[in-house]
Symmetry: C2
Subunit: 325 residues, 2 copies
């Protein structure tokens, strides 16, 4: 592993360990601490530290902002899991299962506020710009989640609606994580904006890769059961394209499976995957991922620091593109 | 009515009308706008404007901060109503009844973020101080709500625990509303702190008055049915004192009514009120309200502006103390 990245990851882990440690009552803060402890990739705070590092800013100067972003991200997972009635998150029971619904609501609220407490620690001269970007992004994530829930109730969603939804729900926080690192590091507006757009493209590719792995992941390395999205009729890029690109007979059969309440799970996965295969959706999705990945590299190449400094970010985004889980 | 207060109220109403008007999707923002439209006293933003006015600061310069506080207050009502499973708020169906639970969760989240968007509009030189106070207060409100929910599961709660809970859940936002008005108006730290303490005392008196009115309010002017708190075993100041001050036989009878799941509502109200009467709780509560009211006047008298300028605030707090609903 890259030693700099390892160091950053250790700093992030240590900082997260110190959140919500002392506060009372524990009935409020234990579920929040539990949510944060479930881990995950810690991708967003890492991107903040790496963006700042591009401009030679020390990680200690951006760790609070990085933490704010990770706390907000985990808040959104907590409330989303409650709204989606998900029982598990990264293999562990979700807060509303381990505690109860009210704990999930109120601990999530406390996490939003804690995120703002951390973001408000940035230097005074950058406070307004950073906090405005943070709030705009936070609101976009709520909008994205609302579109996602609204789409669940509709049979047909257009490709552009879907891409806008994942831009809001997933990509903007990745762009924001990078841009805030750049702002605090004193980068020019142009560089900060390029990093934001780099993040948007990485974020879109990242989510499409998620959609793809659910169907075409390697069962031995994926970590979750293949076909989870298919079983719960999640409006992924593949399902949306399948509904759009299918012929009448295929589409009717697909809709029957979507509307069925009593079915054999394996049969449903095989059937839907078969349609995806017939419609060549693996390649179509891979091509779109590639398009966003190349666009992201384009944005990164416009950032006015030496190519040598960008190697870590390029390596990280390659890993995200070629990941197996 | 005091013409200045009327003008302030109009400004607040107009500003609230402009919140969440254009944003999309409406599935996210309509429930938020509905919550804000239900009205109520608009006490907190009014206090921000009045605190600024004490130091001759124009209301237009503090209206954004005042709005932030009102939006946050309404967010907390929205999520509290969901957690308490309340069907009505100010005579109208609550968001989770009119829409659904997920709308209540996510629209509430959007309101917190919108509150931060407004609070971040304060002048740069005061931004950090204001936002830190706002976040501390917001977190305290969550802590207060958690204590309130925790207390529901306990039979005995001490008077000091109860007073700390209502300080967090109700009083700190009133103190914060006043202090933020003072900070933006350029008041000294000492004056801003005195106004905060004035608000804490007013807030405590205000909540105790609420507890009192539920039992001893005039049914013709109260607006709600008398005894609502008694029926749902709400741990009000009166119930906590009753459990503490009652003799064994009274206490056992009281606990039986609290634990009963099948009972005649009117009989329960009459029984519990009778115990309150026997324990002289009306007078005990009135005395405590008076104590906090006098303490609030004491804090206000320490603020270094002419007594003449304080008349509006004194009149407002008198109205709060002697209100019938």
């Amino acid at each position: 592993m890259n030693p700099k990245i390892t160091l950053f990851e250790e700093k992030i882990a240590e900082a997260i360990d110190n959140v919500f440690t002392e506060s009372q009552p524990r009935t409020l803060f234990d579920p929040a601490k539990y949510t944060l402890s479930l881990g995950g990739k810690r991708l967003r705070p890492l991107l903040t530290l790496m963006a700042a590092d591009l401009f030679d800013k020390a990680s200690d100067d951006v760790i609070d902002a990085a933490l704010a972003i990770e706390i907000f991200h985990n808040f959104s997972l907590l409330h989303d899991d409650l709204m989606d009635k998900a029982d598990l998150r990264r293999g562990h029971p979700t807060v509303h299962k381990k505690w109860d619904q009210n704990s999930a609501i109120l601990s999530g609220d406390a996490m939003v506020i804690e995120a703002y407490r951390y973001i408000a620690k940035v230097p005074k001269s950058q406070l307004r710009e950073v906090i405005d970007l943070f709030s705009t992004t936070a609101m976009e994530i709520c909008q994205g989640q609302q579109y996602d829930m609204d789409f669940e109730k509709r049979m047909e969603v257009s490709e552009s609606e879907y891409l806008e939804m994942i831009r809001l729900k997933t990509a903007v926080l990745i762009g924001c994580a990078l841009k805030i690192g750049a702002i605090i590091a004193g980068a020019s507006c142009r560089d900060a904006d390029c990093l934001y757009e780099y993040g948007i493209n990485i974020g879109l590719a990242f989510q499409l890769k998620d959609d793809l792995l659910d169907v075409y992941g390697n069962p031995e390395t994926f970590g979750k059961k293949i076909g989870g999205d298919i079983l719960c009729n999640k409006k992924t890029f593949l399902l949306i394209k399948a509904i759009k690109n299918s012929e009448n007979s295929q589409r009717e059969a697909l809709k029957k499976w979507i509307l069925a309440s009593d079915f054999d799970p394996d049969a449903k996965i095989i059937f839907v995957k078969n349609i995806y295969d017939e419609l060549n959706l693996k390649v179509i999705t891979e091509n779109l991922i590639e398009k966003y990945y190349l666009a992201s590299l384009d944005c990164l190449s416009s950032v006015s620091v030496s190519e040598d400094r960008k190697k870590d970010l390029i390596e990280l985004s390659e890993n995200l593109m070629y990941r197996e889980k």
